[in-house]
């Protein structure tokens, strides 16, 4: 996998969420209060309090029955609007998809990747525009046709209307998604070349932590950079003391296969500083280490299989045949795994002058594979979460702007999230985005984007000052920095309001690369992100519907 999956920081994210919601709500409330005071004068605060009370009243008197009725109405309306026509496009796409697929000469694992990526991408690309249009046009159309009046004059509350819409569209979307995903799954199984069928699995890796030793044998955070644009992989030099050391937790009998072998799978890369022996790939060696007993058992040399990866089936009984060969037999689980279930594996590059590249996910203990469908439907579930998120945002936004504007707005938010969120994150100093940028650039000490905010950047451009040159001390610099700080703070809020869609996309990568979708690093963040937007979207929609004039088309 070409990204490092780390557990989602639930607490940190929750605190951030609370801050953003708190800040945004406070801003809305303050503006509303001021607007009320301006429009009705000294009675303003009282009117505002009454209104607030009524809103809280609406909140606590929600009726599931009414919501369900509104959801049913929304569902029927969506069907009437020919939402299910998306199946026709889907069918056409899959009928002719074979034309666009790559040649069957590619390696089986590549073919799996291509087919699975295609299906999951096709599903998300087809379903998202449909739900976006449905969600963004429903309420504005109701208002335009005045059918909204017949609803709001009934006991149904506006809050229920918003929730009902969201539930109804979600229901339509989920049905479409379910049908598409089942058809897609069947299509992959039927269409994939026979030679590649065996690669249709769902690996369950035990991933470890990775540290390095440099060529002198000193601990190091990273290996050598061999000039890759993306510094995700670090390299160790061959025939030196350089090592990559993985520490796997939770290794025991349950981690072995049925025959009692430990399956170690790697995706190492090679970098040759000279051509060397071209008849074979670069040699590497595993050494199993028990730090508690200082037992070191080297494993015979192996060559890497770059681009595909290799799985080594390591017998649980190892014979020490290394330099310090004592000829003794060691049991991996009993002798090499520590009491706390930790297995340490050192990797060395053997060929002098050659380099072995790796990142943390590039070596893992492969436990029993799960059926492909397991990971596939998890990925589909993540697409479903994204679909719900779009519905929530679409319905919410459509309560205060017209259909086309709502569609454009939500579409823009999604696009900004995909294309510019990381850039914004670097400006506002998001630690996770900075960590990703460090991984790209290899600069471990990388901090916030240099060069300051908008005004400072303009100033530096005009005066030909590079980002590291100090600005002249003075009042104008202070004012400039002060304004920039305000703008960056505002950008921080905008940045935090835009959803992070990385996790939804990662779910596809897991399955396409033959891995199970990790719950803590992918499914959970998808669920939490969706949930995090549900409440605020409902409240925003409700608030907007409550304060807007329904007669205004």
């Amino acid at each position: 996998m070409n990204f490092d999956a780390v557990p989602f920081p639930v607490l940190y994210s929750f605190i951030l969420w609370a801050i953003v919601i708190g800040s945004a709500t406070s801003i809305v409330l303050v503006i509303s209060l001021m607007a009320t005071i301006v429009s009705v004068g000294v009675r303003g605060p009282l009117v505002f309090a009454n209104e607030l009370g009524a809103m809280v009243g609406d909140l606590i008197s929600l009726s599931p029955r009414r919501i369900f009725a509104l959801a049913q109405l929304t569902f029927r309306e969506a069907i009437r609007r020919k939402a299910l026509m998306v199946f026709v496009v889907f069918a056409i796409l899959f009928m002719f998809a074979g034309w666009f697929m790559s040649s069957s000469n590619l390696a089986p694992e590549f073919q799996v990747k291509i087919y699975v990526s295609f299906v999951l991408r096709a599903i998300s690309w087809l379903i998202l525009p449909v739900v976006l249009l449905l969600a963004c046009w429903g309420i504005p159309e109701d208002i335009r046709l005045r059918s909204m009046h017949t609803v709001v004059t009934k006991p149904a509350r506006r809050l229920e209307l918003v929730i009902g819409r969201m539930v109804g569209y979600s229901f339509v979307g989920l049905i479409v998604l379910a049908v598409m995903s089942v058809v897609g799954w069947g299509w992959i199984n039927r269409q994939l070349p026979v030679a590649a069928q065996s690669q249709l699995v769902c690996r369950q890796p035990i991933e470890g932590g990775l540290t390095f030793l440099d060529r002198e044998g000193n601990p190091s955070e990273k290996g050598i950079n061999v000039g890759d644009i993306r510094m995700f992989h670090s390299f160790i030099e061959g025939a030196t003391k350089a090592r990559a050391i993985w520490t796997f937790n939770g290794v025991g009998d349950q981690s072995l296969d049925r025959e009692g072998n430990l399956l170690l799978e790697n995706r190492f890369q090679a970098f040759r500083s000279h051509k060397g022996d071209m008849r074979r790939s670069i040699y590497f060696q595993y050494t199993f280490v028990n730090p508690e007993t200082n037992v070191r058992v080297p494993y015979p040399l192996k060559t890497i299989d770059e681009g595909r990866g290799r799985t080594d089936r390591i017998n649980r009984t190892l014979v020490n045949v290394g330099e310090s060969a004592d000829g003794k037999k060691y049991d991996i689980v009993n002798d090499l795994v520590t009491k706390s279930g930790q297995l340490t594996v050192e990797v060395a590059c053997v060929d002098p002058g050659q380099y072995l590249g790796m990142a943390r996910p590039d070596l893992f203990v492969r436990t029993a594979d799960l059926p492909f469908a397991y990971g596939y439907f998890k990925a589909v579930a993540c697409i479903g979460m994204m679909m719900l998120l779009v519905i929530f945002m679409g319905v919410s936004v459509s309560t205060f702007v017209k259909g086309p504007v709502a569609t454009f707005l939500v579409f823009s938010v999604v696009m900004v999230s995909y294309t510019a969120r990381d850039f914004m994150g670097k400006i506002v100093g998001d630690p996770f985005v900075l960590a990703k940028a460090r991984e790209w650039s290899g600069q471990l000490d990388m901090q916030k984007l240099e060069g300051g905010g908008v005004l400072e950047s303009i100033y530096r451009i005009l005066w030909h000052m590079n980002p590291t040159t100090d600005l002249p001390v003075g009042a104008s610099t202070t004012i400039m920095k002060w304004i920039d700080a305000g703008l960056v703070n505002f950008l921080w809020l905008v940045y935090r309001v835009i959803p992070n869609l990385d996790y939804f996309g990662q779910s596809m990568q897991y399955v396409a690369n033959g891995f199970d979708v990790r719950f803590d690093a992918c499914v959970l963040p998808c669920i939490l992100t969706t949930l995090a937007y549900f409440g605020p979207c409902v409240l925003l929609g409700y608030f907007a519907l409550r304060v807007r004039e329904l007669e205004a088309k």
């Binding site: 070409n2 002719f96 694992e109 590549f110 993306r230 040759r272 071209m278 790939s281 770059e306």
Partner: protein, 472 residues
């Protein structure tokens, strides 16, 4: 606003629509297949060869995709290009391959797109893999991709030249050349059962001969449409150069390739192996000589007699040939100034294309004695590896023959390849003498060259030892 009723307005709209349709139909009338048929647009398309089918084969799926995108083809293509770049950075080759396919469906007649992506696959992606068979796979992918580009853009000489470059220099001059050349007729992919990949080497020929064919096709296309890669005189030299490269590769790799091809999966006795070695050497001796002879013909007659337009005086363009004699220069140059300018132009073009070097080399190599010298040197090296006394005999034979060649072509004294081979023959001879504990005699062939080029000996010795160790 106005006094027209709704119905009247509709009639006005209809009238306007019909009025606009008249020029559209008149301009866009389809052709019936005969020359100058159809409307103005159709006639212009025929005259300027701008029709899709004039450019190359049609791709229904790509055309459908373009239509489905309405006017967003440019946007979609840009997004795909960005994706391809990111996938390259992520070393996500499977996805890159698919994205490349999508790009060319959107931009099927944009020659640079084919060039860039073909190069990317054959040179950049290939180099990212460690195993040589994997590298070869991506070279093939690049080559096949470019060939598909040729099908879509039949008139482009550039793409045809790029295909030739993959077949020729990429396969034949890479560090992995000895592997790539073998894979070319014996693909490492098990599905081809030790035969060539029919999509890449249908005729089972040598990579340089395949390259020559493609360069020739590029030259033919270049007569119709200008190429945009390099100076025309260099561009047109490639078919002949490929023939010369083919001959040189036969010396370098031919023996092992031919020997292994003959052996196949058989187990040979020592006697059989010896007999086969001799037979292969004899066969290649003649084959390489003929290859050089054909190379000489290609270089001096086909390529050397080609006409190139040169501005030899300001504003005056003359057709010159690389193989132009002094008499011809005099008759064309007319004035003393013109003669001098033309002579200089011919000289410059000859230098630019290394014309004289290749002419001399091909001439020399196509002579039986030079061929004999090369193969005697090759045999000396092989025998030296076996520590056989025949090494000395073969080395002495090659030394004598090289000296004879040097006497005939003294300009080869400063030619790198020739000097290297001549010195190697002396080196093998002296190494064997050292092995036997003998001292070199006072006089021996190539002595003056050996003493003159002493600074090159350590490098040649290193190379000889490395090649001796290298297994095939």
């Amino acid at each position: 606003m106005n006094n027209l009723t709704s119905q009247q307005r509709k009639f006005v709209y209809l009238g306007a629509i019909l009025l606009l349709l008249i020029p559209i139909i008149w301009l866009g009338m389809p052709a019936d297949g005969t020359p100058d048929s159809g409307g103005t647009i159709s006639r212009l398309r025929q005259q300027l060869d701008l029709g899709e089918s004039d450019l190359g084969d049609l791709d229904p799926s790509g055309a459908a995709m373009n239509l489905a995108l309405l006017g967003l083809r440019g946007v979609a293509a840009n997004i795909l290009w960005m994706q391809a770049d990111e996938q390259k950075n992520y070393k996500d080759w499977a996805e890159l391959r698919v994205t490349t396919e999508s790009i060319i469906r959107l931009q099927p007649h944009y020659v640079k797109v084919w060039e860039y992506n073909g190069w990317n696959l054959a040179f950049n992606v290939s180099a990212e893999w460690d195993a040589v068979p994997d590298r070869y796979f991506w070279v093939k992918e690049g080559g096949k991709f470019l060939q598909r580009g040729v099908e879509r853009n039949r008139r482009s000489p550039d793409l045809k030249w790029h295909v030739g470059r993959v077949y020729g220099p990429k396969i034949g001059l890479s560090d992995e050349a000895r592997f790539f050349r073998r894979y070319f007729y014996q693909d490492p992919d098990p599905q081809y059962a030790k035969g060539p990949d029919p999509e890449f080497n249908n005729a089972g020929e040598d990579n340089y001969l395949a390259a020559k064919r493609w360069f020739q096709v590029a030259n033919d296309a270049e007569k119709e449409q200008r190429q945009s890669i390099m100076d025309r005189s260099i561009f047109r030299s490639y078919p002949a150069r490929s023939q010369l490269d083919y001959a040189a590769a036969l010396y370098k790799y031919g023996f092992r390739e031919e020997y292994d091809r003959e052996v196949g999966d058989r187990k040979l006795t020592d006697e059989e192996a010896k007999a086969l070695e001799i037979r292969v050497r004899e066969k290649l001796k003649e084959q390489t000589r003929q290859a050089w002879a054909l190379g000489l013909e290609d270089w001096t007659i086909r390529y050397g007699q080609e006409l190139f337009a040169v501005e030899y005086l300001p504003g005056i363009i003359v057709q010159m040939r690389l193989e132009m004699g002094e008499d011809e220069i005099r008759s064309l140059g007319k004035s003393p100034d013109g003669i001098a300018q033309l002579r200089r132009a011919v000289d410059q073009y000859q230098k630019m294309n290394n014309y004289r070097y290749w002419r001399t080399r091909a001439l020399c190599e196509s002579e039986p004695e030079t061929a004999e010298a090369h193969w005697a040197l090759f045999a000396a090296g092989e025998e030296y590896r076996k520590q056989s006394p025949a090494a000395r005999t073969f080395a002495e034979q090659s030394m004598a023959l090289f000296e004879k060649t040097l006497e005939k072509y003294p300009e080869l004294r400063d030619e790198d390849n020739f000097v290297e081979e001549a010195l190697t023959s002396v080196l093998v001879w002296s190494l064997y003498m050292r092995l036997e504990g003998e001292k070199p005699p006072e006089m021996y062939p190539l002595k003056s060259l050996w003493e003159e080029k002493q600074e090159r000996v350590p490098e040649i010795e290193r190379r000889f030892e490395r090649d001796s160790r290298a297994a095939y």
